[in-house]
C-alpha cells in the first residue's frame, strides 16, 4: 500500500469509528434502562486526555524527523536546477536565471537515486512547484515566492517523466501552468 492510500485509510477508519461511537452514544440516550450514565467523569476525562497527549507526542516524535527540511540535508546534491515560476509557466535551467531576461536552458534530465536540489522562486505572484510522477501522484513540492528562494532537495527512486503542476492559485491560467523533466 502506498502512502496516499495509507493516509486515506487511516482517516476513513478514524471517521467511521467516530461515526459509530456517535451513533452508539445517541442510541444509549433513547431508552436507557437504569442509570447507565458515566461515573467519575473527571477521572475518566483526565485519563483520556493524558492518553491522547501521549499519542500525539509519539506521533510528533516519529513524524518531525521526516520533515522535508531535514531530508538529504547532509548529502550534497549531484545536480542543481534553478526554477523561476511566472504566470503561467516554469522556467528551468541548470544555470542561475537572470530575472531581467529569464530564459530556460536545455531540457532537464536528472539522475535516479541521487540527491538533486531545486532552487525555486517566482518572478511575479506566489506559485507552487508540485512534482508528479508518471502515475500522477504528487511526490514532493515547495512554494515559489517572489523575493525568496526555496531549496527543495529530493532523490528520485524511479526513472521516467515527471510533471510539474502549479500548486498555489495564481490566476486564470493556474490549471494549465505545467512543465516536465526526465529522470533516468
Amino acid at each position: 500500500m502506498n502512502e496516499y492510500k495509507f493516509i486515506l485509510l487511516v482517516f476513513l477508519d478514524a471517521a467511521i469509528l467516530i461515526g459509530l461511537l456517535g451513533y452508539y452514544i445517541y442510541k444509549s440516550s433513547l431508552n436507557p434502562e437504569g442509570d447507565k450514565s458515566i461515573k467519575n467523569p473527571l477521572r475518566k476525562r483526565f485519563f483520556f486526555l493524558i492518553m491522547l497527549s501521549a499519542v500525539l507526542l509519539i506521533l510528533l516524535a516519529i513524524t518531525i524527523p521526516k520533515s522535508p527540511y531535514f531530508l538529504f540535508a547532509d548529502k550534497p546534491p549531484s545536480k542543481l536546477v534553478f526554477v523561476d515560476a511566472k504566470q503561467f509557466n516554469f522556467i528551468m535551467s541548470y544555470q542561475a536565471i537572470n530575472p531581467k531576461n529569464p530564459s530556460a536552458g536545455e531540457s532537464i534530465e536528472l539522475p535516479v537515486d541521487q540527491p538533486v536540489e531545486f532552487r525555486v522562486t517566482s518572478l511575479d505572484v506566489n506559485h507552487g512547484f508540485g512534482i508528479y510522477n508518471s502515475r500522477a501522484e504528487l511526490v514532493t513540492q515547495t512554494q515559489a515566492m517572489p523575493g525568496y528562494v526555496n531549496r527543495l532537495r529530493w532523490e528520485f527512486k524511479e526513472p521516467g517523466t515527471y510533471k510539474i503542476l502549479c500548486l498555489e492559485y495564481c490566476g486564470l491560467g493556474h490549471p494549465v501552468m505545467s512543465s516536465s523533466f526526465i529522470v533516468k
Partner: protein, 479 residues
Amino acid sequence: MASLSLKKVSSAWIITILTLFICAIVFGILMRLNQGNDIKLSPNGFYTLMTTHGLTMIGIWTVAGMVGIQYLLSRYTTVSAKLNVFALVLTIIGVIMLWISTFVGNFHTGWTFLYPFPFYIAWAKWATPLFLWSLAVLGIGWFVWSVGILVEILKKYSLKQAFAWQHLSKKDPEVTTPPFILIATVSLVGIILCLITAVILLILFFAEYYSNGSFKNDPLLMKNLTYFFGHTLANEALYLGVALLYELLPEVSGRPKFKMTWYIALAWNFTMIFVLTAFFHHMYMDFVQPLGFQMVGQLASYFASIPAAAVSALSVIFLVYGNKIKWSLTNILFFIGVIGWMIGGIGAVIDATISNNIVLHNTLWVPAHFHTYNAMGNVLFCLAFFWWVANEFAGSQETTKSHKITIGLMLIGGFGFVLMFYIAGAASVPRRFAFYPNELQIGMTTATWAAFFATLYLIAMLAIIWEIVRKCIRVFYSS
C-alpha cells in the same frame, strides 16, 4: 433577557446570513460541476465564484456565531442592539462592495488575495481597491462589534473572571464563570487579534497601492499576516459555535448545565494560545520560513485539538451517554456538529503533520478537512442556535418532530460531499483548479459526485432554513 430590538436585529442577521449561505452553496455546486466537466464556466467565471464563495462563507459563519453570542449574552448582562445594527449595516455594505468587485469587476484572487496577486491586475482596475476597501468596511464593523461584546462581558465579569482564572486556584470560587462566557471571551480576544492583523495587512496593501509601487512589501511577511488572519478567524468562528453549544445543549436536552471546572478553564486558556500559532502550518512548504516556526506549527496544530475538541467532545459524550435525552432538531444539530468537528479535526491533524503535508498541501485534502468542520460542524452549531431562537421568536415550543428525512439528507449529502474531497486529495488532485488535466480524471469524477451530494445537503438546508426564516420574519410584526 433579550430586548425586542435585539430580537429584531438578530432576526435580520439570521435572514441575511441564511440568504447568503444558500447563494454561496449554489456557487460551490457550480464550481464542482465545472470541475466535473458537467457545465462550462469560463476560467474568469469559475475564479470569481471561488473568491466570492470562500470569503462569503467564512464571513457569514463568523458573524453567525457573534449573533448567537450577543443574543445569549443578554441572559447575563445588558447588551446593545445598536452595536449589532451598526455591524449589520457595515456587513451588508461590505458584502455588496465585495460582490461588485468580484462579479462586476471580475476580481478573482481567491480568499487569500496573497500579496502581490491583487496588484497583478487581470480584472477591472477599480476592482482591486474596491475589494480591499470592502474588507476594510467588514473589518471595521466586526472589530467594533467584537470589542463591544467583550466590553459587555466585562461589565459583569472582571477580566480575570471572564477568563475563569479564579477556577484554577480555588475549587469553589465566590463568582463562577459560565463556560459560555469563558469560550466567548477567549474567541472574541482571538477574533480581535485577527482583525487587528487584517488592519495591518490592509494598511500595507494600501501603502503599496497608493504609493504607486514606491513602497514595496515583503511577500513572506504578507503571507504570514494573511494566514494568521484567515486561519485564526476560521478557528475562532468555530469556537463561537462551540460556546453556543455549551450554553444551549444541556438546556434543550433536559440535562443540568455544564459547570465550570479547573480543567475546562485551563483547556480554553490553552486553546487561546495554541490556536494563535497553529496558522504556521499554512507555511510548511515555504522552506525559507524559520525552522522554529514550522515546528511550532505542527506542535500547536496538534495541541490546539486537545483542549477545545477533546474536552468539548467528552463533555458532550458524558452529557448524552446513558441519559434520557429529549431529542429535538436543536440538540440533534449540535450532536452531529460535534461528530463533524471531530472527523474534520482528524483530517486537519493528518494535514498539519509536516511529513504528510508535503503530499497533501494545496491538494483537495485541504478543502476536505475545513469543509468537514465547517459544513458539518460550525454551520450545524449555528443552525442549532438559529432553530432554537426562531422558535423562541415565534413563541412556539420546539417539537420533538424527528425531521428524519431532512437529517438523513443532510448526513448523506454533507458527508458524501466532503468524502469526495478526501478521496481526490489523497489522489493528489490539486485544489483551485477550474478544470483538471486528463491524468487527474479522478478529480472530475469526484467533482461530479460532490455536486450531487452537495445538492442533497442544499435540499436539507433549504428545508431547515425555510422554517427558521418563516419564524424569524414574525418578529418584525411583534411589538
